[in-house]
């Protein structure tokens, strides 16, 4: 039994930012890196499935440069069995999915888990794009997985507003995992050190194909002009507030 988890090393921007000369990206000096929180949950879900199902290998895959191996090593320290890096730098979810597809397909997975979205790009698309390339059924925004190891899995989708959609999905399948499904386990120092020593398979990327989009310009969000002040009596203020709330929550 094999579970493949696609993970991303995200880039975190602090409060200060400068852009590259061509204005199409952020200067990398201002970026920190970390394992994407959703992918930590996806990895944890795979590890818990492994514990429940037994006789199961968990393989983590990422697309990125060698600095992104930090994310893989974090997953290995958590307990993943193997790690693969597709050596490529991709800027949109479809190109990323294409880069992942070869490596994932090569593992003949029984289940593929991804995070719903990455904290930096917030596309929320890579997992389902990957499923399309693999020709697999998929469910996005999953907050519960029940599976005996064969046949369809019963999963739950977390809809807006707290409603839960119970879905039966044929396997093999791709599931994009929502945070809150579990508490990713910590790795102790021994596991972290062992993960440092473990070998990571590096494979080249397949052809990129056309991107989902290209960035023509990145810029700092315009500073708001300050709050729009609501005037009037407390009753009037309250009414204004309620109107805004209702509109925004639609």
């Amino acid at each position: 039994m094999k579970l493949v988890v696609a993970v991303k090393q995200i880039k975190i921007l602090g409060d200060e930012v400068e852009f590259t000369a061509d204005g199409r990206d952020v200067d990398p000096d201002f970026l920190d890196r970390a394992l994407n929180e959703w992918d930590a949950c996806a990895t944890e879900e795979a590890l818990q499935l492994r514990e429940r199902l037994g006789d199961c290998e968990v393989v983590v895959v990422t697309v990125g440069d060698d600095e992104s191996e930090g994310a893989l090593r974090r997953c290995l320290a958590m307990g993943a069995d193997r790690a693969i890096r597709v050596d490529a730098r991709t800027l949109d979810p479809i190109t990323t999915a294409r880069a992942l597809a070869g490596a994932v397909m090569g593992e003949s997975p029984d289940l593929v888990l991804c995070g719903v979205q990455s904290a930096d790009s917030v596309q929320g698309a890579t997992g389902v794009a990957l499923a399309q390339l693999l020709g697999l059924p998929r469910v996005a925004v999953v907050n519960r997985v029940e599976w005996s190891g064969s046949g369809p899995a019963t999963v739950q989708r977390e809809l807006e507003g707290g409603l839960v959609d119970v879905v039966e999905v044929d396997t093999p399948a791709v599931l994009t995992i929502q945070t809150g499904i579990n508490q990713p386990r910590y790795a102790n120092l021994r596991a972290i050190k062992q993960a440092e020593q473990q070998e990571i398979t590096v494979v080249p990327a397949a052809d990129e194909g056309s991107p989902a989009f290209t960035v023509r310009r990145m810029f700092a969000p315009p500073r708001g002009e300050g709050a729009t002040m609501l005037d009037g009596s407390p009753a009037e203020v309250a009414q204004s507030i309620l109107d805004i709330v209702r509109e925004r929550l639609a």
Partner: protein, 310 residues
Amino acid sequence: MSVLVVAEHLQGRVRDVTYELITAARELGGPVVVAVIGSDPGSLDVNRTGVDEIVHVRVEQEEFESDVYQHALEALVNERRPRAVLLGFTVNSMGFAPAVATKFGLGLATDVFALALEGASVVATRAFYGSKVHGEVEFVPDEPVVLLLRPTAWAPSLDAGQATTTEHELAPIVSRARHKEFTEAPKGDVDITTADFLLSIGRGIGEQESIPQFEELAEKLGATLSVSRPIVDAGWMPSSRQVGQSGKTVKAKVYLALGISGAVQHLAGMKASDTIIAVNTDPEAAIFGVAHYGAVADLFDVAEELAKIA
């Protein structure tokens, strides 16, 4: 060239984001076509000013299933070759729209909050790096572009329209992920980081005895109660409710702050929220610097009034 809107519905009701998509579609120019996919599309009203055509795609399934919507959309895209396909950036859309774009090599962008048409090209604006920067993105020319729009970024089109209706026949679909039933999420510990609407109180409330009043108000408003640090330090509420650098970082749709002045550690924990409304008696309170709406008023007076009308 037309703009194709995919209506979103749940349990027999059209979701509000659909009407926002219609507004956005109108901005792009060209005929606006709204597709309704479901077992009884006629029962779902999407006829609004600006909609030229409503397409009913009748399928077996009443509720969303990702393969069903994918097939339906693919058929419509092939048939109509719209300039753009607009969907809400919602759980449903995330479940199938990227697959359509991938299969046909179309452009794709999600969480889009601004659109422009430059000549024949669509330019979309979305956030990057955790919303700290914005970016304008362009797409493959001459292919439809699939866009998932941020809910509430456009105003909804509310006036009745005069669209024509067509029926689109679809071959039976093998649905590999099938809706079984709906349930409610179990109520666990309060997780303020996932709440859409936070009512947040600070030291302006004065005493512990005031807290029940705000708990009741939160419930009336359908909000989750959160607090700033001094309330937790005083032991009046548990730290799971604390918004701030030493508490939790939240990104609510609506963050209503009553009696919070806005210490830098608190602002760091909530300033990414979509709509921030602050009420404070001090016009110089730092929170007004990050709020979208503010009122210099007594928070108890405002709270009392809100409780009457909520």
